[in-house]
Subunit: 398 residues, 2 copies
């Protein structure tokens, strides 16, 4: 059976390895060290850096495809690997749009896909400052400043409150290593994510559109499917994601994060060309998980059935608490399993740190369950795993 | 998180590792070599023999529990490990009944559980021959001769047709290394399996009773739940399995294989104290898979929900064909995925050999699907994976 290499040893690689096992494979992982979540569990680990061409070459040796757990590999190295015949999936020509928010915005705008108003602040500092002022005035200073590259989970995004704050952030960041852009702050009802996958053959497949609930700038909860989403809007989101994957030549899983505006329109927020937090619900809630699908896509296998297995599935992230509880993760798991024998837990083998994603819980609703009930259970389980506190105040010793 | 060691590197260990990953663990495997199915995929492999105490000790070092992928570890070695404080699960006092069919029959009979008539042929050869003759006469020579230890997948079982054949098998085998027993050949409607799990705390959980379809003496297809099984009979089977697990002090998953007789009674056939082929359907068809449940049990975690996810689930084994097809497994998988995007395939990373279990396919029925349709699809998929031939004659080039 073929070998696929994934660059990065995080939880996405860890969970992709689970799916690789079913397909008769072992995922090869380029990890930075033996405690990386995927390095702990794979039988084929290359240690090295995703920023060193020789390490990438070693990881790619004999593999039929090279793919990614994160967007951090410098484009030049990927182009070098492609020139040497490595099947980089998604290819560098597509991945650049996931690495560079400004390129992404420009390309989306070219394709006529709905994006928030934005401004390029990457040039000469004085000129960029003037641009920011014009952009802010035009948007009533409902403005977000973003790092063009490298941001994730709330990092590299500044929610600025008015002109003074915006200029202060700009003055602090501009001229340094961080290339900046400004974006209109969209008045939104909620955030959605349209996950799709695309194979080299050109086959595309879309999962149901989900609602993502953010806390402190990162994903906390995913509701699948997005409750009460207009059917036409859902189809529009799926079609936008499939079309974009096709136009960019994406290979593998892709998440298109969207805003649903207060007046019911869609605006594209971010892109990720890999398995994504908004697709973790598929592990227990869809016929084909995003991890298996990503492998099928990069291997140019026909894609799997994306049907949900239940009317409602909710995923809640286990995020490191402000104060790590005294009770061990192992003991917390005991208590959770005692209370919720149907909760599907996925732990990543990571140390706990405030707001760090260390696992997630999926709760698959029974027929007729409403989304609030399923969500309450998923969040209660995840909060317990983070804090060793039950959100409903339950105390077995009381 | 705790480490569990599994002795044996076969497909059961491979699939247990998949479940260990979700629980934040890495399964440690004692494997005979790097091509063992589990050794290919786990990040924690000890190479050695399950018949060498020092190898077992090395594998057990630092693990919270030691468990098994097969029944082949000599009891004396397990007792030695237990004396050294290793948490052997299931413990030797239970496992002996899965290793020795005669001990098992005696114990089941003592407990009043229904067993076929049987005879101990382990003693003096001449006396045992006389016993066989008396036993055969009593049962109209509807007789099976079995090896007391070490048989599996049809090995160590002789279906003899009448007195002459029975005595011929006896005369050939008796006095050698193989200890023998005779059993009444039960006139049966079909074979069933009741899978349960039990934790050290004493919690038990049962999955729905399934029908197992045997070919050439080994499991080929599993129908979950067993179609048209009387509700009381199903509950009786579950209760027998739960009671036996409790009486024997089993820890982990246990399969009780049963005959449903022509007149609708249950008779116990075999026991396995580990994840079992008749439970593979749970990977895609139940809230908690047998592999996760086995880990939960050996770790003394509360057990998971055993509810099925659909009205009908069918598992079909991918068995090596008489002639290995020219088409590679990888290419066969392409074609299967193209035709059946909902088929859940589990390949074990094993070389193909006639009748060897190299993988399995689960098909989870849609609401309202009848069992024949789901079975036809699962068998078609598995036969394709074995033979590169579609059972319905489909030819994409025609």
């Amino acid at each position: 059976m073929p070998t696929v290499t994934m660059i990065g040893g995080g939880q996405l690689a860890r969970m992709t390895h689970q799916s690789a096992i079913a397909l008769g494979q072992c995922l090869r992982v380029l990890a930075s060290g033996p405690t990386d979540p995927a390095a702990q569990v794979s039988g084929d680990v290359v240690f090295g850096s995703h920023e060193v061409l020789d390490d990438l070459r070693e990881a790619a040796e004999g593999a039929v495809a090279l793919t990614f757990d994160h967007e951090g590999v410098p484009l030049g190295l990927l182009e070098a690997l492609e020139a040497e015949g490595v099947a980089v999936r998604p290819p560098s020509k597509a991945l650049r749009f996931a690495q560079d928010k400004l390129d992404m915005r420009n390309r989306l705008a070219e394709l006529g896909l709905p994006v928030p108003d934005y401004a390029d602040l990457s040039g000469d500092v004085a000129a960029a400052r003037d641009q920011l002022i014009a952009f802010g005035d035009r948007n009533d200073w409902q403005v977000v400043i973003k790092a063009v590259r490298g941001g994730y989970d709330g990092r590299g995004v500044w929610l600025v409150d008015g002109r003074d704050k915006a200029l202060a952030v700009f003055d602090e960041q501009a001229g340094g290593d961080t290339v900046l852009m400004a974006e209109q702050k969209v008045t939104m009802r909620r955030e959605l994510s349209a996950m799709v996958a695309r194979s080299p053959y050109g086959q595309g497949a879309a999962w149901p559109v989900v609602e993502t609930v953010q806390r402190n700038g990162q994903c906390a909860v995913v509701l699948a499917p997005a409750p009460d989403l207009d059917r036409e809007i859902a189809q529009q989101a799926q079609q936008m994601a499939l079309r974009l994957a096709d136009e960019l030549g994406v290979i593998g899983a892709m998440a298109m994060e969207l805003f649903e505006t207060a007046d019911g329109r869609l605006v594209v927020n971010e892109l990720a060309m890999r398995p994504h937090n908004s697709g973790h619900w598929t592990m227990d809630g869809a016929v084909t998980s995003q991890f298996e699908q990503h492998l099928r896509a990069v291997l140019d296998y026909p894609l799997g059935d994306t049907s949900p297995r239940a009317e409602v599935v909710v995923m809640a992230n286990v995020l490191g608490a402000e104060q790590t509880p005294e009770m061990s993760v192992d003991e917390r798991l005991h208590h959770l399993f005692a209370r919720m024998p149907d909760a599907k837990v996925h732990m990543y083998g990571k140390g706990e740190r405030r707001d760090r994603k260390v696992g997630h819980v999926n709760v698959v609703g029974a027929p007729g369950d409403d989304v609030d009930r399923v969500r309450e259970r998923a969040e209660r389980a995840a909060h317990w795993m983070s804090h060793a506190v039950w959100t409903d105040g339950w105390d077995p010793h009381a």
